[in-house]
Symmetry: C2
Subunit: 234 residues, 2 copies
């Protein structure tokens, strides 16, 4: 085992795009939304405007599909100067329900890695988004038994992780977080003195993009695939 991780007792896994596919479904929904409204604006512009609307509404709605759908409805009204058809609004609501009801598509190696690590570590899920949605995905995933419990955070900033560590009653150095978002899963943990392993997903939401300086990049590890975690931690 890599010495750096010898004090680790609890491993936190991000869920969306770390354990299962998520961002891809949002990208698909955005593109469907842009097509629905392409008589009012170019699809590219609609995409940009929708992102702005989501950012404006984020403090009110938080993360997750429901807030995303409400932002799409509001955007449709605004983009069309209140001339959008009811059928289009109906379709937007439908896009949201379909997203919520999507089956869970596990990423490569997830089950194998959890099975191995759960023998030695306490595993938890630390995710943001909608509580019901995340619990449901965990249920559908079949991975529930590997985890001690699931922590759904309203955001993934230093403060939220600080409370999580207090709640887990462990020192930062005993906690390792594994996730795909530098901004949400890696940098806040590094600042707190916890360990972090970054496993990029091919698609990243604009809101999660962040620039990393050289000092920061030395303090966490980046792996290509979740499977590589085993050789480091075993």
């Amino acid at each position: 085992m890599n010495k750096e991780y010898q004090n680790v007792k609890v491993i936190g896994f991000d869920a969306d795009d770390t354990l299962w596919v998520n961002e891809t479904y949002f990208r698909d929904a955005e593109s469907e939304f842009a097509k629905l409204l392409n008589r009012f604006e170019t699809e590219n512009k609609i995409d940009q405007e929708l992102f702005k609307m989501e950012m404006k509404n984020l403090p009110v709605y938080g993360y997750g599909v429901k807030g995303f759908v409400l932002s799409m409805v509001e955007m449709a009204l605004e983009l069309s100067n209140n001339t959008v058809s009811n059928t289009t609004i109906e379709k937007i609501i439908e896009i949201g329900k379909e997203m919520i009801n999507k089956p869970v598509e596990l990423l490569d190696g997830v089950e194998e890695v959890l099975d191995e690590l759960s023998k030695k570590y306490r595993l938890i899920v630390a995710t943001k988004g909608d509580l019901l949605d995340q619990e449901r995905k965990l249920q559908k995933s079949g991975l529930l038994d590997y985890f001690h419990h699931i922590e759904v955070l309203s955001d993934k900033k230093e403060d939220n992780y600080s409370r999580l560590l207090k709640h887990l009653d462990i020192k930062p150095s005993a906690f390792l977080m594994i996730g795909n978002s530098l901004k949400s899963d890696i940098l806040p943990l590094v600042t707190l003195g916890a360990k972090a392993i970054h496993i990029p997903f091919h698609t990243t939401w604009a809101h999660e993009k962040v620039l990393v300086n050289t000092n920061e990049s030395k303090s966490y590890k980046t792996l290509k695939n979740l499977r590589e975690v085993i050789s480091i931690l075993n």
Copy 2:
């Protein structure tokens, strides 16, 4: 102190309509919604149909304002046979944002009781609804410091409480739940062998209404006011 409660170590408080006003805002929103659509149906009928729509969508959206707003939008489309104006949809979205941004109105005696009980017990909030929404309300309430932590549950059934007790690592008899909903805060706890104190709020959401048999009603206490809890637990 009442002997029945001598093993209690952790007290869980429901939040909405136990610590602060909530249901009243939903009632107001429903009545505003019915007025917006009263050229399509009687306000009474709109009220009933909205409730049915909420129940239909509950497994998809869960509890909280965002799901409620999405149900209102869907209901407006359906009730009007897709002839509702964009302005009305806009107003529905606005009703939701106003609900989310409402100030927190504490119920009578809350601060005094929490101050007293926090000296002797570990207090937690156990609520359902939207995670961000509930965290924000707790923040606004100024009550944060009284609580060890906040547990937002996707539902309040026996299973959810069972997991909560496991997570708290205590026996059911060491847990007392205080809340306004018989269905969500009292009966599941009684079944698990935990303690429960019911403090009714003047308004109850139809979904929370339940019939109680005599045996069950013997196994929990009903108080008129939160303040009475002190004389029982001190």
